[in-house]
Point group: C2
Chain length 101, copies 2
């Protein structure tokens, strides 16, 4: 079943177009991760935070990516990473047009 | 610009089909919220947590819904609600097939 992974952490920037330019290669590499379906990149310049909402094909893929990505973030000097893995409720999500593929 | 709202909280159940049955009416009502685009319902029976990932058309709609929904959750006796509002990074999200409509 599709598994949702949410990750966020304190982040001082860059945001917006400058972030997109800096992380273009990373984003492209994520498409090759096993079980990866999509990622919404999230950022909040006002509160100083960033992260991602990911959908994976199954929990094992999400957990494997989380371990890899957490180590990468820590390598960037990022700490206080909050990550949570969730099942989705398909019936309720369908009622609210939530994208699960 | 599309605004992402993530909400999660400790939750003892029901989960799955039983949750879907209990909250069918609530889910349908959410479709009528101003600026609402979609919600993915998230749950984790193992850790005892639930919540939602929402996309709204703009930040004002997301903030208004968050105020309304937080009060409703507290009315259900739910506490320790974690909620965060984020901008999305459209360029990076497009690279990773993230759904923004």
């Amino acid at each position: 079943m599709a598994t949702l992974l949410q990750i966020d952490f304190p982040f001082g920037g860059p945001f917006g177009a400058e972030m997109a330019q800096a992380l273009d290669g990373l984003a492209r590499s994520i498409n090759d991760e096993p079980g990866f379906l999509w990622k919404i990149w999230i950022e909040n310049a006002a509160t100083g935070a960033a992260g991602g909402i990911y959908l994976f094909a199954d929990a094992a893929s999400a957990e494997a990516y989380l371990a890899k990505h957490s180590a990468r973030l820590e390598g960037f000097g990022i700490s206080d990473i909050r990550a949570r893995v969730f099942d989705v409720n398909p019936a309720l999500t369908a009622l609210n047009h939530g994208p699960l593929s």
